[in-house]
């Protein structure tokens, strides 16, 4: 379908983008990679009044290792994260996750800032951001991931607020992300991530609720010396996954346990 009409403006700096959003007022949206927004607009599920195109803000496209932190600009494309040596050296799980998002064409344009701001329950980076206590930096403040993913498609971002950076801790120890899906380019039916960090495990789950989930019960069990297969049984504790076109709640809980076990066992 043809999207509803909208006004369009290009921003060449974050300040300009923010003032354009203010000028257009309610109903204006940022356009980054467009790989969530444009399909919604084509289905007329979204009808923004105006789009502020941030693709020209080149200084939002970067990967930087900064001591114990890895800083990634909001406009960094999935393909850049997938191939970046800096990411591979400092947070290899993130490069692996990036390489599993969508397909070549999606990865060539989709951005990390877009995934985070969109906050789809099946988004992959949010799981990693949450379980590793990443920070989401905007033009107004720094928001811990824990406070950022509030509900399905719901974040604390103000209408004129722009995500500028996602800051992860460096973690190059054993890790694994397992994304269960029917076809390669699909979103996760369920995803499970395991990362060794500071001697403990961090465990995250994708698409088992309205927001990403950090499986603290699994982490605690591992801390107390449980075997992966025992600890992973806790992966579905307290989960209430939605029934969607891909799977029913019981099946998703089953996948959460099985994939968590495999992620811990296969982490390297």
């Amino acid at each position: 379908m043809i999207p509803a009409a909208f006004e369009y403006a290009r921003a060449s700096s974050v300040e300009e983008a923010s003032s354009l959003l203010n000028r257009f007022g309610e109903g204006a949206k940022v356009l980054a990679g467009g790989h969530s927004l444009v399909p919604l607009m084509r289905l007329r599920l979204a009808q923004p009044k105006a789009l502020v195109d941030i693709n020209g803000i080149k200084d939002l496209d970067y990967v930087k290792a900064d001591g114990s932190r890895l800083r990634i600009g909001a406009l960094t494309r999935h393909v850049t994260i997938q191939r970046s040596k800096v990411v591979r050296d400092n947070l290899p799980i993130l490069a692996e996750v990036a390489g599993e998002i969508g397909d070549n064409q999606v990865r060539n344009l989709g951005t990390i800032g877009g995934v985070v701001a969109y906050a789809d329950a099946a988004g992959d980076y949010p799981t990693i951001a949450l379980m590793l206590d990443a920070d989401i930096v905007t033009n107004q403040r720094t928001i811990p991931a824990e406070d950022f993913f509030q509900d399905l498609f719901t974040t604390p971002l103000a209408p004129d607020e722009i995500v500028t950076e996602v800051v992860f801790p460096v973690a190059s120890g054993p890790h694994k992300y397992i994304k269960f899906r029917r076809r390669l380019f699909d979103w996760a039916i369920v995803g499970a991530a395991a990362q060794k960090l500071n001697g403990g495990w961090r465990i995250g789950l994708t698409n088992v609720g309205p927001t990403p989930v950090r499986a603290k019960a699994v982490e605690d069990a591992l801390q107390k010396g449980a075997k992966p297969e025992e600890a992973a049984e806790h992966a579905s504790d307290g989960l209430e996954p939605a029934d969607d076109l891909r799977a029913n709640p019981e099946y998703k809980k089953h996948l959460a346990r099985v994939l968590t076990r495999r992620a811990i066992q296969q982490a390297e």
Partner: protein, 170 residues
């Protein structure tokens, strides 16, 4: 409000006034008359609309024409040169890499990107490189063979002569 877009498509400069909501694929097809780029879905999944944007494979149904301002694009019409099919097109022909042909322009552009990034792909590399392209007819086997053959004719050093057709010709 309409916006001016200037693009270079298959080496030729085009200038148009467009509405922001015009999708790039509609711009190519309706304003530029380049109807080789197909539309197979509304959800950015099928890949029929794949083109190269500054050398990178993208789905032209997922960009607005205004976003192509100042960019250089290659569509399927830009592949053949002087009446000679591009080696990828020739390989699709030789290996029977298509049936109805609807998905083919998208596959050929995705293959052009794949081979530019990796001149000697394994079968697995090729299958992964086509994650974003759907074909309802062929079952993909001959499409994979076509890319292997193209890799070989385009000079990828170790690409294997993977197919009967290639052996027949040899």
């Amino acid at each position: 409000m309409s916006h001016k877009v200037v693009t270079t498509v298959n080496g030729r400069r085009y200038e148009h006034e467009v509405e922001p909501r015009l999708l790039l694929v509609h711009h190519l097809r309706d304003n530029l008359g380049l109807t080789g780029t197909h539309i197979g879905c509304d959800t950015t999944q099928c890949g029929a609309c794949t083109i190269l944007l500054d050398g990178q494979a993208v789905k032209s149904c997922n960009l607005f024409a205004v976003q192509a301002e100042g960019r250089s694009l290659t569509t399927i019409e830009g592949m053949a040169k002087d009446g000679q099919l591009h080696p990828i097109q020739q390989a699709f022909w030789d290996e029977h890499g298509l049936q109805c042909g609807y998905c083919t322009p998208g596959f050929i552009m995705a293959a052009a990107y794949l081979l530019a990034e990796n001149p000697n792909p394994t079968e697995d590399d090729i299958r992964r490189g086509f994650e974003g392209n759907l074909c309802r007819c062929t079952g993909y086997v001959n499409i994979i063979k076509a890319v292997q053959t193209a890799a070989r004719t385009m000079g990828g050093a170790e690409a294997k002569p993977a197919t009967q057709a290639a052996e027949r010709r040899a």
